[in-house]
């Protein structure tokens, strides 16, 4: 019995139900949101400790033996993702105390947030492919509602694109699950992994693999399927943007990592080569898109796309070092990207705009905020000694070892262009004078008229500290990534952990 495996799902679900029953009291919902996310983080750390100790933690629902029941499986990668979910959940919950408009809080903001986190945690932990679909839908439905909360015109337009493409991706996912079930007759991921090699027609497996790749590629916002992301991520209020930016696309990346290391490894030359090209073009198009933008959150949204490319690159190269790099990159990216969105939200609070031309002078009046921007921004661009440098370093080294020189060149170029975008934001928002047409600058120059100003700073400062820790004290983090890569590269370990003695 290992309760730590189910707690990351149970805690947000319970918290969501409780906050629904506290519908009328926003105050209690807020307290509950912070408490539940502290618990979530704690359960994630517990899970990480037990996976590093035992390797795998599994649980079979209803005590049915493995291939028949729905299983929950945690390996080190899943546990890392749960910890990150906890960190981001907590940061967003605290940030929401100050940033979320009262109207949103009254209309179920906190229950939806808990539900979203439950969906995310469930997708990381499940070991059953249909169950993965169900968790995806839980997560999606909560994200639809969060995205449209407020109901402004841009939100509606963004939501239509977001909803359509995500539903489309779910339909492909469902069809692929059906086809796979038709061939192997099981839904348990470990069981599928050992049965795909016995399928008579390996070509069909590759077809299904491509369907999964398209489906998860849409969710992860990979080239050429990413257009929904920059069209929608800048529309909701900022805490929601930050939550989505940190976690949602990474669920797609995680699913890709899971599927293409565990199940679809029978034709690596073909599938992973396509992934490699998709990753390269994702990096390039994302960063070029960002270079053309002049709105704070849109620039950051396009950078999500380009960063997804690096993670997929780690998977596509498919060497132990590259997988380590990919996992390390996910850890670094989730924290850094969320933090950048939080900073953009605070500048919006100060000056009332996300357009770079309406912003300015922040460095002069709020130097601390400027530093808080600079840490994640330089980390994103990969400046040593911050976390992004090591993440990029490992991946680029893996690419060189695999003799993929063109890809290495693109990865380096994208790093440079990322720096260009970050400098653009720095120069426009922080460095230049306040533009003449901006008048509401009292809050920037004087005291912030806000009861909960600390709630803005606490998450930004803590996430910045996390970035610094990953960068300066990277060895233990790297070792975690190494452990998870070892498990990912040996699917046999996963199969044995799930099926145990039931192997034929």
């Amino acid at each position: 019995m290992s309760p730590e495996l189910i707690l990351p799902v149970l805690i947000p679900l319970t918290a969501g139900a409780l906050s629904l029953s506290l519908w009328r009291s926003v105050r209690y919902q807020r307290i509950l949101a912070v408490l539940a996310n502290i618990l979530l983080l704690w359960s994630g750390i517990w899970l990480l400790m037990s996976t590093t100790e035992h390797g795998f933690v599994t649980m079979q629902m209803g005590s049915w033996p493995a291939p028949f029941s729905i299983v929950f499986v945690a390996d080190v990668l899943a546990a890392i993702m749960i910890v990150l979910t906890g960190i981001i959940g907590l940061a967003i919950a605290i940030y929401s105390l100050a940033s979320t408009p009262r109207g949103h809080e009254k209309f179920g903001y906190y229950p939806l947030m808990h539900l979203l986190l439950a969906g995310v945690a469930g997708s990381f932990l499940t070991g059953d492919i249909f169950n993965l679909f169900v968790w995806f839908e839980v997560m999606l439905l909560a994200s639809f509602a969060l995205l449209t909360l407020g109901g402004e015109r841009a939100q509606m337009e963004g939501a239509i694109k977001y909803v359509t493409l995500n539903l489309f991706s779910s339909a492909i996912f469902l069809s692929a699950v059906g086809l796979l079930y038709g061939m192997v007759g099981t839904l348990n991921m470990a069981d599928i992994a050992q049965k795909v090699s016995q399928v008579e027609d390996p070509g069909m497996i590759t077809v299904v693999a491509m369907m999964f790749m398209v489906s998860f590629g849409i969710k992860a916002a990979a080239f050429p399927l990413f257009f929904w992301l920059p069209a929608s991520y800048h529309t909701p209020q900022v805490a929601v943007s930050a939550l989505f930016a940190g976690l949602l696309t990474k669920v797609g990346v995680y699913a890709l990592f899971r599927m293409f290391t565990l199940i679809f490894t029978q034709d690596v030359d073909y599938t992973h080569n396509i992934l490699l090209w998709a990753a390269t073009l994702t990096m390039l198009t994302g960063v070029l898109g960002a270079a053309a933008q002049f709105e704070f959150r849109r620039i950051l949204s396009f950078h999500i796309v380009s960063q997804i490319g690096y993670m997929m690159l780690g998977l596509a190269l498919y060497t132990p070092l590259a997988i380590i790099g990919g996992v390390f990159y996910i850890m670094h990216h989730i924290i850094v990207k969320t933090n950048l969105f939080l900073v953009s939200g605070f500048t919006y609070r100060l000056l009332g705009s996300y357009e770079l031309k309406n912003l300015g002078g922040v460095y002069k009046y709020r130097p601390l905020l400027a530093v808080l921007f600079l840490i994640p921004a330089l980390s994103l661009a990969g400046i040593p000694p911050l976390s992004g440098f090591f993440a990029k370093f490992v991946i680029i080294r893996a690419a060189l070892e695999a003799e993929a020189y063109l890809v290495t060149f693109v990865a380096l170029l994208v790093g440079l262009l990322t720096l260009y975008s970050m400098i653009k934001i720095w120069a426009e928002v922080f460095w230049k004078k306040i533009p003449d047409h901006v008048h509401n600058t009292e809050e920037l120059k004087g005291k912030l008229n806000e009861k909960h100003a600390w709630a803005y700073y606490v998450p930004m400062v803590s996430l910045a500290i996390c970035t610094l820790i990953i960068g300066l004290y990277g060895q233990p983090i790297y070792e975690l990534a190494e452990m998870s890569a070892k498990q990912l590269m040996n699917p046999q370990l996963y199969i044995e952990a799930v099926l145990g003695g039931n192997q034929p």
Binding site: L141, A159, G182, A231
Partner: protein, 115 residues
Amino acid sequence: MESLMAYVVGIMFTAAFYMMLRRSIVKLVIGLMILSNAANLLIFVVSGMTRGAPPLIPEGASGPAGIVADPLPQALILTAIVIAFGVLAFAVVLIRRAYEVVGTDDLDQMKDTDT
């Protein structure tokens, strides 16, 4: 029978894509509806359309006697239908709100968030 159903699934997917490529958001949602139904039917067809008894194990026996139908695809489809229902309910409300806010049902007019 199976090949006939395969054609039906194919036609449904085609129809769904056609509807989704139209400009009107109402047709887009109809397309999504057909798409999810097509996926459900696909699960039903690929897992084998055997004519079998209900998968019940008689008392005292360790397995079912004779050919039985596979209950799992039906469970999957049922789950997927429920999820699709919820999602579509949301999508219908969304297009209504979007129509009210934007004032058009033409997707080509909804370019505010693109650049």
